[in-house]
């Protein structure tokens, strides 16, 4: 796992205590596109199952994650695709 993916994983882990967490680096699919860097680690697919999402709207869930990953989104991460589920929905 790359350095950025590791940071994303760690921050989501610390912030959400998720039941499950998948961070997939999809950068290779976007090579040459806007925002792509030669070293990769720009495009991520993230799937999180966490009790913290229960009772929250889609918007609230994503705001929670955006807040945890503020530095990454302001920096190296160009695109983040999120699937955020409460345990009962997974």
């Amino acid at each position: 796992m790359g350095a950025v993916a590791e940071r994303i994983s760690r921050k989501l882990h610390d912030g959400l205590s998720p039941e499950s967490l998948e961070v997939r680096d999809e950068s290779a699919k976007h090579a040459g596109h806007a925002g792509a860097r030669p070293e990769g680690e720009t495009h991520f697919d993230v799937r999180v199952v966490a009790a913290a999402f229960a009772g929250l709207s889609r918007l609230e869930r994503q705001r929670l994650v955006n807040g945890l990953l503020r530095e990454e989104l302001a920096g190296p991460v160009h695109a983040l695709s999120l699937k955020l589920l409460a345990p009962a929905e997974a």
Binding site: H30, H33, A34, R58, L59, Q62, R63, N66, R70, L73, A74, A79, L80, S81, L82, K83
Partner: protein
């Protein structure tokens, strides 16, 4: 809001766009020629629902590109507004469409096109 208003032309432009148009998509590129896969997806979803919308190309102006992120407190683009209300980005639009919620929202707001059917 209790803040003292200060001159901020970008913020004013965004506020006006959101106020004056029932459906506004802040996107990269134009509806006819999106320049990012996520913006393209958002356009496709709105087209699928036959919703009339105004596309605002944030690539035309770096200040606008940053300004919309601050305006919505949302770090990514595209961003959809319906009747002045922030709905979300492409992940949320896709999930809402799949759950049938986007159709309901558009119908409630009176902006759903006729071509999409009931």
């Amino acid at each position: 809001m209790t803040e003292t208003p200060v001159a901020d032309p970008i913020r004013d432009f965004i506020a006006q766009a959101v106020e004056q148009n029932p459906v506004v998509l802040f996107m990269k590129g134009t509806p006819d020629s999106p320049r990012c896969g996520f913006s393209s997806l958002a356009v496709q979803i709105l087209d699928h629902l036959a919703v009339d919308f105004v596309g605002v190309d944030v690539l035309q102006d770096e200040a606008l590109r940053q300004g919309i992120k601050e305006f919505s407190d949302w770090p990514t683009i595209p961003q959809l507004y319906v009747k002045g209300e922030f709905v979300g980005g492409s992940d949320i639009l896709r999930e809402m469409l799949q759950a049938g919620e986007l159709q309901t929202l558009m119908a409630e707001k009176g902006v759903l096109g006729t071509a999409a059917g009931a």
